[in-house]
Symmetry: C2
Subunit: 388 residues, 2 copies
């Protein structure tokens, strides 16, 4: 097991009827900005409920945070925070709204050029660069990214997607009420299951370091997602399935399975380029890229792939190679069973488009991906060709 | 899954050579009280190392915190905190030192009679009762209780053991360096494995609520403890085994497997009386009581016992009853394989002593134990008789 640090101060309120906790979690005299996305939280009446609970506090609204939230959009919210002296942000949405809110929180008191904050990659922004933020809480409307219980965000700027991490970017609290997610479109539910699955796998199917509790926990999340994935898509109001989906998604990326183990993230990085270039949903890009990464990297990942085959898929017969083959096949079939296509060509991306993806990876310095850095541009190309 | 709240702000520094993190985690002008136990941390040179790292800070020492830390002892430390204006406590030890330090932290600024703090049981002390504490960090020398990453303590007072919980009682940070634990006596290592095992089981072998990730995580901790338990006892300097032991013990009681599920704790409550009356080690009391609880409560716990048999012990043959029988037998054998006896009589406690234990349970109001409250004094008596 590697040495590690762990810290996660986000408070979770999970279950039915938890919205009232907003009132006790935000200072009574706070000036609150509610952030949200395309309007479904508004239409459903959720924003109005939140405003009612906020009572006499001065409340402002900022809607229209788009999927893959864009720097330019978020800076408009930063202007409101600055001009109206906002001292608490209440994010209502999925990963994009929460990620965007993290950026608003970090940027609002930053004195320099706020594009600076996009330049740290996976390195946490040091506390002497950002020392003061606007505290925020979240109400999760889409279980997928885990952003509600971590300190990371991905922000779109020009034609790239940029990771932003900072110890001050943890939500103060997050409300996870599975019933709030009942009205989601099926495709977003399916994308969310895949996102949680690939988050988990990217922290698990790496080289082994004898971190047994972490492995078992990752396997537990994967097994849980496999068990109820089809149900949570097909039966949106099945509370038990959705509750397990919601908590799996949070646990997949709150850092607890990441401690002391290597992490891959190649699939996410390649996937980000597919979203930026072709507008494919984040979850869909993972469903395309991940099976292909496992196929191309099967030798490097063989020890963990075998463990994955045996423990997650209960594959006990056959040679090691056969077990691994079957596990990868089952992974692809699982994604497809949720209604998500797993081939680039099914999204209209043909072989001639691959060089543009490689170009973007190169432009963003993503030339040595994976937990060992062995996914060069050449390997990325192989992964994309294999995913056609 | 039940509704739940989760909050755990303790920062973890895990691995080799992490002591230096003390320096960056404690204010440079802090007046620090180092708390420790019987002296092994002193003799080993660990306390001196800590003092060296603390550098120019004004440092005081308070040794002699006993196993099952006693109120009277801890109040002597409270006096030092008060008279010397201590503003940070550095606990160096196992669960008893850390639990004791939590009480010192809570009691030092409390204006009333500090025995008040023992009266809340498993109900967290409200923040209008204790609103200011002395912050503290921990260096874990004995992996067992998980106290290094939670907000609970058990304090001895007169002839009882009293749970104390408070949201302000989380350590600011905890250093978990497995190599620091290499010199522990084998029996303490074995007790620690059993403590972590029973902590996990008391949050898992309860009635089922379809909390799948929590179940899988609990099973993962139990499997991990089973896999390396004998090794971490027999080979104290086996880093991988000890590192997994240390992290399992922390994960077993940091709240993450507890969310949304019923919790039992009958074994701990009965065990506390055995410690108070007969001086049996905490870990040993669990090894005595837990197999007997499972035997006596097998009907009430049958659904989870079957899941435990199948998933943790891989028992796939036989009737449900046979599977459960074998799982309980294997649990007892596992404890014994660590060198810990599992029968009351092996500790010199005979049938005629059982009424005194029942008397104490009654005196402490522990008349409706377990996750359903169905362990009456009569059932506790049956459990103890069955454990002879």
């Amino acid at each position: 097991m590697f040495n590690f640090d762990f810290y996660n101060p986000t408070r979770i309120f999970f279950g039915k009827n938890r919205l009232e906790n907003i009132d006790t979690s935000i200072p009574a005299d706070a000036r609150v900005l509610i952030t949200f996305g395309g309007g479904s939280a508004k239409k459903s009446g959720l924003i109005d409920k939140v405003k009612t609970i906020l009572g006499n506090r001065k409340v402002y609204e900022f809607g229209g945070i788009e999927p893959n939230p864009h720097y330019e959009t978020l800076m408009k919210a930063v202007e409101i925070v600055r001009s109206e002296n906002i001292d608490f942000i209440m994010a209502v949405g999925g990963g994009s709204v929460i990620d965007g809110t993290k950026f608003i929180s970090l940027a609002s008191h930053y004195k320099g050029d706020t594009t600076d904050l996009l330049k740290f990659g996976f390195m946490p922004i040091p506390l002497d660069v950002v020392s003061k933020v606007v505290p925020f809480g979240t109400i999760v409307t889409l279980p997928a990214t885990g952003s509600e219980m971590n300190n990371g965000a991905v922000i779109s700027y020009e034609h790239g997607k940029f990771p932003v991490m900072c110890e001050l970017a943890f939500p103060k609290f997050s409300i996870l009420d599975p019933t709030i997610t009942f009205t989601l479109p099926k495709i977003q539910v399916a994308n969310g299951v895949i996102d949680a699955f690939v988050h988990t796998a990217e922290q698990y199917i790496t080289f082994p370091v004898d971190a047994r509790v972490q492995d078992r926990m990752a396997e537990g999340i994967l097994q849980t997602l496999i068990e109820f994935g089809a149900t949570t898509v097909a039966e949106p109001e099945n509370y038990d399935a959705r509750a397990n989906h919601v908590w799996s998604a949070t646990m997949a990326l709150n850092g607890i399975i990441a401690v002391g183990v290597p992490q891959d993230w190649a699939t996410h990085m390649i996937g980000h380029e597919l979203t930026a270039l072709f507008g494919i949903d984040h979850g869909q890009t993972l469903a395309i890229v991940y099976p292909s990464v496992l196929e191309v990297q099967r030798k490097q990942k063989s020890a963990k792939l075998l463990q994955y085959a045996e423990r997650v898929w209960n594959i006990t017969n056959g040679s090691d190679d056969e077990k691994i083959d079957l596990a990868i096949k089952k992974t692809r079939e699982f994604f497809e069973s949720l209604g998500i296509k797993t081939r680039l060509s099914e999204y209209g991306v043909t072989a001639d488009k691959i060089p543009a993806v490689i170009e973007q990876l190169k432009a963003h310095g993503l030339t040595a991906l994976s937990e060992t850095g062995d996914i060069t541009l050449e390997v990325s190309q192989k992964i994309l060709e294999n995913a056609l």
